[in-house]
Amino acid sequence: MESLTLSDVEQKYYSDLFIYCDTDNTKKVASNGKVLDLFRAAQLPSDVVLQITELCGATRLGHFGRSQFYIALKLIAIAQSGLPLRVESLNTVKDLPLPRFVVAKNEQETRHTAMYPDSENQGPYSGVIPRPPGRGQAKKIPLSHEVIQSVVPAADPQPDTTSPVVSPHQSPPTSPHAWRKHTRQASGGNADRQPVVGNVWPHFREAQAGPVAVDGMWSGHSPPPVQESWESATIRTSVPSAATNEIQRQTSGYDDPWKITDEQRQYYINQFKTIQPDLTGFIPGSAAKEFFTKSKLPILELSHIWELSDFDKDGALTLDEFCAAFHLVVARKNGYELPEKLPESLMPKLIDLDDSAEVPEPALDVGYSGSPVEVTSNKSPSMPSLNQNWPELNQSNEQWETFSERSSSSQTLTQFDSNIAPADPDTAIVHPVPIRMTPSKIHMQEMELKRAGSDHTHPTSPLLAKPPELSEESKLAATIKFPGNTVGDGYSSSDSFTSDQEPMASVVTRQRSHSGTSPEGLKVVAPPPPPPRPHASHSRSSSLDMNRNFAAVTSAGQQQPGVVAFPPAVPPRPQPTQAAGPHGHRPVEGDSLPVHCSTSPQQIPEQPNFADFSQFQAFADQPAEDAEKHSETAQAEKAGDVAGPLRTAKSDGQSEERAAATVNSAKGSTGPLAPPPKPVRRRLKSEDELRPEAEEHPPKSNVITAVLTTQPSIPRSVGKDKKAIQASIRRNKETNTVLARLNSELQQQLKVRPVTLLRQNSQREGFCTYTPPPT
């Protein structure tokens, strides 16, 4: 007898088997009895068994000693793998799967040492998600089908797990149906099995050296594993009598008895076409009912089949569902019991079927009182199916006050047996994707807005910036009191940031509604600039950027009187108060200064910008009669200009604001930066009215325009900073006050021009409460 080298796994396995066969404990087993049964259980042709017996020397000895037994086992494994039986191959075959044996039911109880590597069985215990096909069968198969396999070797083929993709080519040519019958008979019912399983499983667990890589095995499709799995599947089926061979044959029909062969599937597809020519369409329930009633199965069973196969519970059958249902009908007609859960192989492939996909949620189903195997099996693949179901379930849940979407989702889960094909991608749960706006962008926009002093231009910029921020900092949204709170509404309403534009759009619309009165302003704002970046999370960083910008701009600005280098305009806030005082620039500036100071330190760097205000003040001091006009037109123009930059970004909110403020001041009457479109609007209109004086404004407006256009694109620092937002809020408020003051001053000056004032006032929707005396 050639020496036999066994791996540890094999060693263990064989010793277990030997112990099993060695009932007399004589350290040698007779060639009859259990050994024969065992060999028979290997589901090999009898001549192969004979050959093995002969090769191992038992024939010579008349009995199986331990070594002969081991050799025989190894030869069995070789034969099961489809390799030729050679003595030489005993030691040369590498990675030979363990021989598989179908264990009789009655033997099972006695065999507690048998490992049940089947993932299914282990499911509840080891947490490995049993593969559905196996599972389904497991249910049916009494525990008796413990597969005699060592649990440890991960290399072991998954006997139970069916990687049923490959039909067992090498399986003995038995008719699958016979096997099925056995299976069916064997399966006394889950109840029977479960207790047995319960007894056996603990053993398995202990026996397991480690988690059996069931999943790995499961997906392995190599022929040996397939064969083994095939065989193991057959093993599962309890063989009440010795007709194991038949059982083995049977499996070839299904992969693990539930797999659909190609010819079967083609047949099903053809049948499907007779009802529904469109293969991607559905078969309505009524048509399916008629069709399946023709099979003459009892309605109750048909109903159960329907429950199993209608995966998405929509009352209609897709092609996959139809094939599954048809398959179950065929199985039932052949005597197989219906599974409790839809076998994995029959799961409709809604999404890329991932064998290892786990349905996590079935466990959620409280009412899921399936066998533990089912429960565990469902755990893994449930997620994908859940995804499919959740959208519907969630919708339904929302109708009720729900607190457990699980409970409803679990409903659909009951059908799952384990790996469930992931749901359609579109039904998959969509994870909200927060939109990140670089803070700098928003900041820049804000600054631009402020700079322009035209709130109208970009009322939305700060708001636009906000939605992106929301995802990141919901609190920001809360804290940001943007003008009109419209923005806030916009934010809060966007539960999922699926698109950048959506919240923007909502914000924009809100903004528009607020500033609605200034269509011109809106027009200016109209070409939506890139979504404003969220307020800089670190105002410092943004302010640093801004400082750079400021430095650059300031230097340029100083050269031009009134040209202020501002960082991107302050996001226009549709704050009514702001619009009110487009004229009160100087005082506003003064006020804004302290306000700014009070803001976060980020503003400090912007302080230098304040210095620029003096330049504007110079402008402000210009002829009074033109002041308002200037301011208005300038503001209008500025607003227009600002709109662009404002939108772009809001990097250094405060610095931008300041810059904008300075710009405003340059105009001499432009309101604070913040400026919601309304000021722009007003200015535009006033511009129209003040056309004759327009020539006075151009200088200023030109300056402002120049300033605005020269605004460098402020780099946006990514990140949203609550502080920055708050700072921007303050800035806007300051702008408001500035504008209010400007407004009051202009009002006084407007006494000379009551008409224009009146018109302006009427257009300022609530921007300023001041109404010029109707002179």
Partner: protein, 139 residues
Amino acid sequence: MAVCIAVIAKENYPLYIRSVPSQNELKFHYTVHTSLDVVEEKISAVGKAMADQRELYLGLLYPTEDYKVYGYVTNSKVKFVIVVDSSNTSLRDNEIRSMFRKLHNSFTDVMCNPFYNPGDPIQSKAFDGMVSGMMVQVS
């Protein structure tokens, strides 16, 4: 954890009724039957308002010393009745609602089955499983 769950059809005959302690079935059947009167009363009370304004969950129908009865009506006038043990730590209202929700879902699934004729007793295993999960676990 309910001790009895019943599904009553529109015509007030039971489609499905199941109790946990099997020996007390008759008592629970009687309880459910009497609870139907309360359900009718509640339905009619809201009857003035439009159906969609009527909430599906009816709440506690009536308590007895041993147990409490909760009701739920679907828009198709199918009623669900849950009887819970009073000794049970009082289940929160939300829990009862969720139980009804699950029942409703399962019932819908049963209805979707073309092989199920409305009015037939419910024999769906899935439904049974779900109900079993909700019942009190009595050893």
